[in-house]
């Protein structure tokens, strides 16, 4: 009897101990170790693709991704009126008031996550011996271009413009992964811009026109970003050259007027689009795809965007860009008088980040500043006549010519990346609301309302930032 007991016990115990050897060593779930990423071109490409996707991954309507940052700028001006729905706090210039509110925390963290991913990638790729430079440099160049873009947007949002005072404190400048450095304190506008130029210079020198799709950065896009940066810095030689390279230098090859009323929703059939977010049926922002989701009044969406009477009046009837309708039969005094049909909303509607007409107008603007009035006239007319068969070539000079170029920028690019706000900020002009606005709130030149507060959670967790950094903001 006793023997049976012992045998039973030994059997059971043996069974358990025998399988214990590897019991705690188990495969890990979803996720790849860094060694996999930086050992091959495919792994590195996957990380770059992840960053590209990060630029358009969805969220809340007014805090989805790069497109929300851009559209929030659009409603801060005079041309666009926003109903009481998403982005109303931007329209009312109130979203900046509290350093815990979403506009400031979202814009900050969304861009800094991209920066840290880029830093991790650049360090990992540079240290990788498994992939030759010729293969990895174009990838590093893309990461640097995206990092430069992120710093550029941060500098624009969180401090006065470069021309105001480049020595002002600016968001922290991380040049390597934050795990190496821990949090760091504020930089200066000058330091940030120097770093942006360095990144973009590397990018344009190491990129070609080749790319996987138009959602990735190629040499044209890198030049385009550089052109915008030089615009802000009043470096007109640089802006002229970069803009010219960005669109190729031949306006007639870069403009397709028939596409303007195609709904701004398909990057592949829009030859003017240099860069944008490609949305698909299974990869999209859903109900967060501004500007389309907020401005299209014909299909179910938020019906948020209305157009100022005074802005509509700037367009001639023969202008292909005059896509305004009194959708609601609203009185002329009502803010709901005009809507625009520029953007067709659907979940898979692509979103533009950069188009060739902008580059042509940057070149025109730069030529104006560089004293080439005729060149500016020609480029401006190239665009104007392309959009409106009855366009008359400008004979303006001086400030009048510049103003005409800037008006043309608004007419061409409204609701895309916040052109009116961008121009007012860099020229330190201010914006006065006129016409049939819902809320009349003006921006003075160098108004503090051009600046977001530093997020409270950053101040709370970053000992290198002065707790009073927001005083006066």
């Amino acid at each position: 009897m006793k023997n049976i007991k012992i045998v039973l016990i030994v059997l059971v115990t043996f069974n358990i101990t025998s399988c214990e050897k590897d019991f705690l060593e188990e495969p890990q779930s979803t996720g790849l170790p860094p060694t996999v990423i930086f050992k091959s071109v495919e792994g590195m490409e996957a990380h770059v693709s992840g960053m590209v996707r990060w630029l358009r991954i969805g969220g809340s309507v007014d805090a989805a991704s790069l497109n929300s940052i851009y559209y929030a700028r659009s409603v801060k001006g005079n041309d666009i009126i926003n109903r009481q729905t998403f982005f109303q706090y931007d329209y009312d210039h109130i979203y900046r008031n509290d350093p815990t509110w979403r506009r400031t925390t979202f814009t900050w963290s969304r861009l800094y996550i991209l920066i840290d991913e880029a830093n991790v990638f650049i360090e990992g790729a540079e240290n990788s011996n498994s992939v030759p430079d010729v293969s990895k440099n174009p990838l590093i160049a893309q990461a640097k271009a995206m990092r430069a873009l992120a710093y550029f947007e941060l500098a624009l949002e969180y401090q006065h413009t470069y021309a105001y005072d480049p020595s002002l404190p600016a968001p922290p400048l991380y040049t390597e992964p934050s795990v190496n450095t821990g949090p760091i304190g504020m930089s200066t506008i000058q330091e940030i811009y120097d770093f942006i130029i360095e990144d973009l210079t590397f990018a344009v020198n190491n990129l070609t026109e080749d790319r996987i799709s138009k959602s990735y950065v190629n040499v044209n896009v890198a030049n385009g970003i550089l052109a915008r940066v030089y615009q802000t810095m009043n470096n007109w030689t640089g802006a002229e050259e970069a803009a010219n390279k960005a669109y190729g230098g031949v306006p007639s090859n870069a403009l397709f007027p028939g596409e303007y009323n195609n709904g701004f929703d398909d990057i592949t059939e829009s030859n003017e689009w240099m860069w944008g977010a490609i949305q698909t049926e299974d990869q999209n922002q859903g109900w967060a795809g501004a500007p389309h989701v907020i401005s299209d009044h014909r299909v179910l969406s938020y019906y948020g965007t209305f157009i100022n009477n005074d802005f509509v009046d700037l367009f001639t009837d023969t202008d292909v860009r005059k896509l305004f309708r009194n959708h609601y039969n609203a009185a002329e005094t009502s803010y709901r008088h005009w809507v625009t049909d520029k953007f067709d909303f659907a979940f898979d509607a692509d979103i533009p980040y950069m188009r060739t007409p902008e580059m042509i107008l940057i070149e025109a603007e730069a030529k104006y500043h560089n004293g080439d009035t005729a060149g500016a006239h020609n480029l401006l007319y190239a665009l104007q006549s392309n959009r409106d068969v009855n366009a008359i070539k400008s004979s303006n000079t001086g400030q009048a010519l510049l103003d005409e170029i800037l008006v043309e920028r608004r007419k061409e690019l409204y609701a895309e990346f916040g052109v009116e706000w961008f121009d007012a900020k860099r020229y330190r002009k201010g914006i006065t609301r006129t016409g049939n606005h819902r809320v009349f709130l003006d921006l003075e030149p160098d108004d503090v309302k051009f600046i977001l507060k530093i997020p409270q959670d950053e101040i709370d967790a970053n000992e290198f930032i002065d707790p009073n950094v927001n005083l006066g903001r």
Binding site: F23, I37, S49, R53, Y112, A461, N470
Partner: protein, 1056 residues
């Protein structure tokens, strides 16, 4: 596989209406052999309690034999025994007595109630112990507690009945489990949920699969020594659930119970303005806007408010003949309306039905016992269509195969279906957000410009989605256009089906009389199958042609343990030793898919045209453990106990994997000493103390030490994309808690039982999600950082106030205090409304201080520090209307209560009995964000408004704390202590009033007991802050939650 089909499939035929009750358990009868062994003399007698009430089902066994029987309805028994043999008479709740058979063959027996309960056995870690021998802190409730309340999830019954256990039932969704915190909050970012153990094995399934009638007892292990054997997962306490078993030598007992109830709501939500007031107040808000924000004169402002009002509101319930419902004097032109919507009435279910039916059969012979139970429950929730339906069965069989081998098997199968419409949070698709905060102006069904109801071609009303932009009036709802949280209760579907199979098997071998070996295997397979359907005809998914998400999660838990236990008594000494080896394996698998584009009325994932998401993966988690326990007592007077456990968990890196945990404890039964023995005043006195070191490995991130690249969510088109996860500490390891317990148990005047305990639990090496500066690219970094202390007192008093044949009254009162303090923290951590710092409490609100309304402008004000020239606070403060510049202060107010507890009274008068259970909570504060929203002053378009806006500022000089109404954005109702309210409450949690039919009356149809009763749950709530259910979780804020349920139930319980 459609849900409709399953719903049908899951509905049982009510088992117990079957007349052939024997068929139910015929297979069990095969387990039962020779029930009545025959012997020499017929001994008979009557068994009663001290009030001469006959006792049914009392077990009578001839000692050291297999002969046994039970008393019948009149307490009579007959048994064959030899002269000189001893009869052992035992009954639950009574003292067991022994009688020697003499020449007389009649032995009448009076059993005494076991009020001391000291020999009562409670379930503890890996075994059982008498209450007297316990050196740590263990609270328990038994089946009697369950019978007196509706514990849809069994753990709800702990609320108010056990000291030191804080239970919170949040919302009104049946089948959702209460939050349980034992002796406070041992972790900040790790898990604070207790470990669940069912019949000896760690349980990972959903606790709502068990029905209360299957539960014998729930033990709550609170201190270090009681929990140390589960050391590695025990910092937050352990809850041991033990299911019912049959008893040896008892005839089959069948119990049937059926009850039907109806429920409404525990409390009334905040009162809101009617349509008329909504209109005039909104008018005022627009006027204020024009006047104070845009700077227009009063007349212009009033004129603009009158003309702009409808454009702002969008709907006109006064009809097309009243184009401007409010005149420039601010008064209504008319009060005749076409409609007014009571969204609460529309969305909340004021007559939710609850029905529950159960049967069980149990019994046993001298070798084998069995218990079989089936339970069916169908309960509607407090939001319409919310529902929980469950069928659960349990079988326990134990057998003594021979003198040295015994074996047991327990099986639970449970299946449930839960419809959970969104009923928390401010999302525009949340049914409760609509019910609690949507303006009554907006209609349920679509109306034309004239306010007349519209119909579809089939003549049916159409849900008003508020997104018909071309209809200028009654077309576009400013709040949540294109949503209809009420309509989607019907045209969408959110269903969860849960299946749970648990098997517990064990074999025990007695090697010698003192030494035994036991091996047990427990296996739980749990499937959580979620199905979400979003219509292709209505609502937000129309543009993608509808959408279906299916999410199938399975978890498989296997625990195997082998143990040697040794029990030996010699003289006055007793030794008890246990050695145990355990392997724990947990596998969680998830598979989720979403498809869009439904074909016509199809509702299965397979018929969608566009797959939009596929995700899934497995998590494997394993622990190996060795543990030992040694206890010793001398004369049942001095008890000492020690235990040790070592674990290795796969949740940590190899070098950080091992954890060692131990405990020691002792107790002294002072009343056994000669100087106290037989004292008439102090009948019993016991002192005890314990110390234990425990661990916690549980954090929502599974393998925290890894920082992988995440794939799956970041693909760009057809190109695979990855991003780096947020980094964590690669050396992260166990959280460790040191728990001390001191206690005294005493009994006065033979009826007054008291237990007092003091506990102090310090958790070190906390899992801490240290907030990281967002500029680093991640917002937190998880590491071991800081320590936390929880301490408090627990008192529980049991009294038998009156007890005689006619009348009986007993009471239980318990109270627990809790303080939580941060002992050590790397640096101050601010997160929203708290600011953690050493010496502070993590539950203290840290927010702006409201400084009432500026009488001149009507703007809200908050305090801010006056700074000196170095920007340092001078200690003085001033009011400011600039919210962002206002200073955040420690409020001295906490979100956890100072003390909680319960008060239970049981009365019996003849055949009537009444049980009343109150529970209470005092000292906590609640941030009422629901109320703050209702006080937004028409800044948030389309929301309802609190009646308290009547106190608003209206003109310069007004002294009030309600700011002016204003439609344009403002900070007036932003977070501050203005909306922080004291949240004390006392709740009549359960009332049970029953009548037991006289035995004579029911004998005729073969029943042994028949009880009819009324059961009321949450009948009354007395609270310091009205308008929300006081149980809002420990998260410190309301969150548009559904109201709790007040349930009225009638039931019948029959035994035969």
């Amino acid at each position: 596989m459609t849900n409709k089909k399953l719903r049908k499939h899951h509905k049982p035929d009510c088992f117990y209406f079957s007349k052939q009750k024997n068929i139910l358990c015929f297979f069990l009868f095969t387990l039962i052999t020779s029930m009545y062994a025959q012997d020499k003399v017929n001994v008979q007698g009557k068994i009663t309690d001290k009030n001469e009430i006959p006792l049914l089902g009392v077990s009578v066994i001839v000692k050291n034999s297999t002969v046994g029987t039970q008393s019948d309805f009149e307490g009579n028994y007959t048994i064959k025994a030899k002269t000189g043999q001893t009869l052992v008479i035992s009954f639950i709740g009574m003292k067991t007595i022994e009688k020697v058979v003499t020449n007389s063959n009649i032995i009448n027996i009076t059993l005494e109630e076991d009020t001391e309960s000291l020999d009562e056995v409670v379930v503890v870690a890996y075994g059982k112990q008498t209450k007297k021998s316990i050196v740590g802190s263990v609270a328990s409730i038994d089946s009697a507690t369950f019978e007196k309340q509706q514990a849809t999830t069994v753990t709800t019954a702990l609320q108010g009945t056990t000291a030191g256990v804080n239970v919170m039932s949040v919302g009104g969704q049946p089948g959702s489990n209460p939050i349980i915190r034992i002796r406070g909050f041992s972790s900040i970012n790790g898990s604070n949920s207790p470990l669940f153990v069912v019949d000896g094995a760690v349980y990972n399934g959903n606790i709502n699969v068990f029905s209360p009638d299957q539960i014998e007892s729930i033990s709550v292990l609170k201190d270090g020594s009681a929990t140390a054997l589960y050391g590695s997962r025990a910092t937050a306490g352990v809850i041991i659930i033990t299911t019912k078993k049959g008893r040896k030598n008892t005839a089959p007992k069948v119990t049937l119970r059926t009850q039907i109830g109806v429920s409404n709501h525990t409390v009334e939500p905040h009162k809101i303005l009617n349509i008329d007031d909504q209109f005039t107040y909104t008018w005022e808000a627009i006027k204020n806007n024009e006047q104070y924000v845009s700077g227009n004169d009063v007349t212009t402002s009033a004129t603009r408010a009158t003309s702009g009002l409808l454009e702002f509101i969008g709907y006109n319930p006064y009809g097309p003949n009243v184009p401007n419902p409010v005149g420039i004097d601010g008064n209504l032109v008319t009060t005749n309306k076409i409609w007014e919507t009571d969204w609460r009435d529309v969305i909340f279910n004021g007559a939710a039905i609850r029905s529950e039916h159960s049967f069980s059969v149990s019994g046993g012979n001298e070798n084998t016992t069995y218990f079989l139970s089936g339970n069916y429950l169908n309960q509607d929730g407090s939001v319409k269509t919310s529902n929980f339906e469950r069928i659960t069965t349990r079988l326990n069989v134990d057998t003594q195969a021979n003198k040295w081998l015994s074996a047991g098997l327990g099986v639970t199968y449970s299946t449930s279906q839960q419809n959970v419409p969104i009923q928390t949070g401010g999302s525009t698709t949340s049914a409760t957000a609509w019910a609690l905060s949507l303006s009554p102006i907006y209609p349920v069904y679509q109306r034309d410009e004239n306010g007349q109801l519209m119909k579809d071609p089939g003549g049916n009303l159409i849900y008003d989605l508020g997104a018909r932009s071309l209809q200028l009036i009654n077309g576009t709802r400013p709040y949540a256009p294109n949503q209809h949280a009420y309509g989607q209760l019907f045209f969408n579907d959110q269903n969860t089906i849960r299946d749970n199979i648990s098997l517990n098997g064990n074999i025990k071998i007695n090697l010698t009389p003192e030494l035994s070996f036991k091996t047990s295997v427990a296996h739980t397979y749990y499937v959580n199958d979620y199905y979400g359907y979003s219509s292709n005809k209505y609502g937000s998914s129309v543009s993608v042609g509808g959408s279906i998400t299916q999410n199938k999660n399975t978890s498989l838990t296997t625990t195997i343990n082998n143990s040697l236990s040794y029990n030996k008594s010699f003289g006055d000494h007793s030794i008890n030793a246990l050695l145990l080896q355990e392997a724990y394996k947990y596998k969680y698998g998830e598979l989720s898919a979403t498809g869009q584009g439904l074909i016509a009325t199809s509702n299965t994932l397979g018929t969608t045209t566009t797959p939009t998401n596929v995700s899934g993966g497995d998590v494997l988690h394993r622990i190996t453990s060795y543990l030992g326990k040694l206890s010793y007592d001398y004369k049942k007077k001095y008890f000492v106990e020690g235990s040790y456990r070592t674990d290795q968990s796969s949740r940590f890196a190899k070098h950080a994997r091992k954890g060692d945990f131990y405990s020691v404890g002792g107790s002294w039964v002072v009343s056994e000493e000669p100087f106290l023995k037989n004292n008439n005043i102090l009948n019993y006195l016991k002192l005890k103390a314990s110390y234990g070191e425990l661990g916690n490995e549980s954090h929502s991130g599974y393998f925290l030490y890894l920082t992988p690249f995440i794939a799956g969510s970041y693909n760009e088109g057809n190109n695979p994309g990855v991003l780096l996860a947020w980094p964590n500490d690669p050396d992260i390891t166990w959280e460790e808690a040191a728990a001390t317990n001191f206690g005294v148990d005493f009994k006065l005047f033979n009826f007054f039982n008291t237990s007092v305990e003091y506990f102090n639990k310090q958790t070190n090496k906390l899992f801490y999600d240290v907030p990281s500066a967002p500029s680093t690219g991640y917002s937190e970094f998880t590491t071991n950082n800081g320590s936390l202390r929880n301490y408090g007192w627990e008192v529980s008093i049991n009294t038998q106030n009156v007890s005689n044949k006619k009348f009986e009254w007993s009471s239980n009162f318990n109270i627990s205090t809790l303080k939580s303090e941060i002992i050590e923290l790397l640096n101050d951590v601010n997160s929203g409304d708290t600011n953690l710092q050493e010496g502070g409490s993590r539950f203290e609100f840290y927010m702006r201080e409201y400084a009432s309304v500026n009488p001149d402008t009507g703007e809200a004000q908050w305090y801010k520090d006056i700074l000196d020239t170095d920007n340092k606070p001078t200690g003085e403060k001033e009011a400011t209307t600039d919210y962002s510049s206002a200073t955040r202060y420690y409020t001295g107010k906490q979100s956890i209560p100072d003390f909680t507890g319960g008060f239970n009274n049981y009365f019996r008068l003849g055949n009537f009995d009444l049980n009343i259970l109150l529970n209470y909570s005092f000292g906590s504060y609640l941030y009422d964000s629901d109320y703050a929203l209702l006080m937004n002053g028409f800044k948030s378009q389309g929301t309802a408004a609190s009646v308290d806006l009547k106190n608003r500022w209206r003109q310069p000089g007004d002294i009030t704390n309600v700011p002016r109404l204003q439609t344009s954005p403002n900070s007036f109702n932003s977070r501050s202590d203005r909306f922080l309210f004291k949240n004390d409450y006392v709740r009549l949690k359960a009332l049970n009033f029953g009548y037991n039919l006289p035995k004579d009356a029911i004998k005729s149809f073969g029943a042994s007991a028949l009880r009819v009763y009324f059961q009321g749950d949450n009948l009354l709530t007395f609270q310091s802050h009205k308008g929300v259910d006081p149980e809002q979780g420990f998260g410190s804020s309301t969150n548009q939650r559904a109201l709790g349920q007040r349930i009225y139930t009638f039931g019948v319980k029959l035994e035969f």
